[in-house]
Symmetry: C2
């Protein structure tokens, strides 16, 4: 099948399929006489794998490693799990950061009247005219 159909079947855009090939995440696709790329079921399978990994927030580098582990029949599930746990830790760190931002901002917003007057603890906090809320 050609790239459009492979994109449809895998959920990865044609644009990204070419990109993944360019950066060596996937092997170069076969070519027809027309120079069009040609994909088989295995290729689509690998692309869908990548798609699901992206949906879980794995980086390209991590996906490279996941693909290597997937292909290695002698892999240990320990290695896969370690990679997953490392990624979970990254996710939790990001969630914590965003959660702190949310909490700080929610507190400020809660203290803001939200009326037609200019006085606003949000702006004042950003301006540093009041000590920033420091809850943890």
């Amino acid at each position: 099948m050609q790239i459009g159909e492979a994109a449809e079947a895998s959920g990865v855009t044609a644009k990204m399929i070419r990109h993944y090939e360019a950066i060596g995440l996937i092997p170069p696709a076969g070519r027809r006489s027309s120079n069009y790329r040609d994909y088989g079921a295995d290729d689509v399978h690998r692309l869908a794998f990548i798609r699901r990994a992206r949906d879980l927030g794995f980086s390209i580098g991590e996906i490279r490693e996941l693909l290597r582990l997937w292909a290695d029949r002698r892999r240990s599930s320990r290695d896969v799990k370690a990679l997953a746990l490392r990624h979970i830790a990254e996710l939790e760190a990001k969630i914590a950061t965003l959660g702190e931002m949310r909490a700080t901002l929610a507190h400020l917003a809660h203290c803001c009247d939200g009326d037609s007057r200019p006085d606003c603890p949000i702006i004042e906090s950003l301006a540093g005219t009041v000590p920033p809320p420091h809850r943890h």
Copy 2:
């Protein structure tokens, strides 16, 4: 003061100060005869404002708006609060996305033995050989 000192005082790197000037987030700094940028207390104050807004996760576009509101003595706190609430919603959306990733991956990792054998529900889920965990 010159840019290094302003960077130190505001918590914004000299690199970023120049960048913010280039994209019009801050007005062009005055220059000395040496062509060095020259900053006063007001400039540092504005940079610190930007720094705190960045720390709360506001985008450059949002900060542009916040700076406009800060400068506007006739602003309504309603407008500031609306911007803050909108940003809180963005943060919560991101947190929710990351949280779903974390939950899915944690479930898979929990089901993975993590031993020396290759069998691994994480890899299998990515490969699509088992239906993906669909909890919401």
